[in-house]
Amino acid sequence: MTASRITNLWSKVHYNPNRPVSRVVVESTTPFQFDAKESPSGITLIAQGARANMYCETIEVYDGLIEWIKVEEHAEGVVFDIKLNHPSPWRISCEQGIPHRTVISFVRDHLLTLFAKKVIFIDPGHGGNDPGGKGPVDLLEKDVTMIMATALQDLLKPLTDQVYLTRTQDYPLSQWMRCNLAVKMNAHIFISFHTHHSHDAAIQGTAVKYNPAAPGCASLARFTLEEIVRKIKRPSRGIEPDPQLRHLGLIPGLTVEPVAISNWVEEGLLRNPTLYRKIAQGIFNGLLRFWGEKKG
């Protein structure tokens, strides 16, 4: 009998109504016998007797539950080590077809608990007659911040129904009004999107500024910066206090500048829709670390 060939592996968050799951999908030419066992940090799946046509490496996932998946080929078959950042119930199912799919689903219930009843304000920077920075080609900061804000809102919506945008259309708002909206609603967090803009087109990378008046906000900024950089692989420009966020009082607030729009390579990156999803996932992971640490 010819060995099953493992051709591909991918992971995606699947939003079942009220119960999102992280799915790890192993694709192969034919079904294979498998053995799965729990380890302290995740699970290990062994595709017995299978051979890997796909490249064996550690695949970064960082979806808020799955950290990474290490794929190795051994004499007994192909081994998948799945590292989780939180214990989670899981199950394995198979989908017949070409390619055959072996699916490991991890329940993301702990995220529902962590985000439940959290009031989150997302602020797309600039707007209306205030376009913000302009890219060397022609992207406008007010437009890209709106896409960033919407991407984050889409990611958070399945976990909490209290996600608000400070503006949903193209109109100007003062900084005071933006912060005041969050204060009035007793927000748990305020995240403002901007891009860096400078006459020096060589400046590039990610920076996160924080509300100096909110306790622990520097940690939140550091986590968020680390997670965004990990997702979008841009250089870090560090964290710093943002005096404009003082209007928020004790509410933790961030001004996130994922890229510099004035750097035309980064303006080019802003044309790719995937970038926005990665930025949103980075912020999500930052919040997770912040609230997870507080809870712990």
């Binding site: 051709t7 591909n8 077809g97 995937t274």
Partner: protein
């Protein structure tokens, strides 16, 4: 139009660089997966990368003409930055590019698009300006592959399967740059419409298309 009954098997590879040989890669990654009658589809951008045609924008010094002309294509077009336009000028020559611009201007007057590439050269449409995808090439400009016809022939010789080099995007546009048979063009155009190569960091630039026998007969 009748749909071809075929299946796509994307194969996850390592991050392909200019150190790799695309013929060896195709052979090694499809071994044991590809069978007689199958088609190997390869993403055009990785073929170009192995040919050292991924260029860092800072290595290009755009001239005045490139800086001027790059203002005209749509902002989501392939030639929207001065370095990409400069590379297009080097690939096609100044005269062809200028003639393409004239054709594009006339096309705009009558509300038709695509005249630029028709006149300046189809290969320019395969230039990927800073695309933000495929780390670590997300900040490179990737030119179209050089002599794709020769590459598909060499891969067919190495693997025995039909081969296509394709440019696919997420808006269901499939462009076949080269193929070892007319039937494989027809089949690949349908099979790749959902972009199994991915448009992010899926790392699946090689796809095996498995075709049912009756579809092959119909395509032939």
């Amino acid at each position: 139009m009748m749909c071809m009954p075929c299946y796509t098997i994307p194969i996850r590879t390592h991050v392909i660089t200019e150190q790799d040989n695309i013929i060896e890669l195709a052979k090694c990654y499809t071994e044991g997966v590809v069978e007689p009658g199958d088609i190997i589809a390869i993403a055009e951008s990785v073929v170009a990368i192995t040919q050292k045609r991924a260029i860092l924008p800072e290595e290009v010094q755009p001239g005045l003409l490139a800086r001027f002309l790059c203002r005209f294509p749509g902002k989501h077009g392939s030639l929207a930055t001065p370095p990409a336009m400069e590379l297009a000028l080097r690939e096609a020559g100044t005269i062809r590019i200028l003639l393409g611009c004239v054709a594009a201007a006339m096309g705009r007057l009558i509300g038709k698009r695509g005249f630029f590439y028709l006149v300046a050269g189809r290969e320019l449409a395969f230039i990927d300006d800073i695309a933000g995808t495929m780390w670590p090439y997300e900040r490179h400009i990737i030119l179209g592959p050089h002599k794709p016809g020769k590459i598909v022939a060499a891969i067919k010789e190495a693997t025995g399967a039909d081969v296509v080099i394709a440019d696919v995007n997420d808006i269901k546009c499939v462009d076949i740059l080269a193929a070892t048979s007319p039937a494989s063009v027809k089949i690949a155009k349908e099979a790749l419409v959902d972009n199994p190569f991915g448009n992010d960091d899926q790392q699946t630039p090689i796809v095996v298309i498995k075709v049912k026998k009756e579809a092959q007969d119909r395509a032939a």
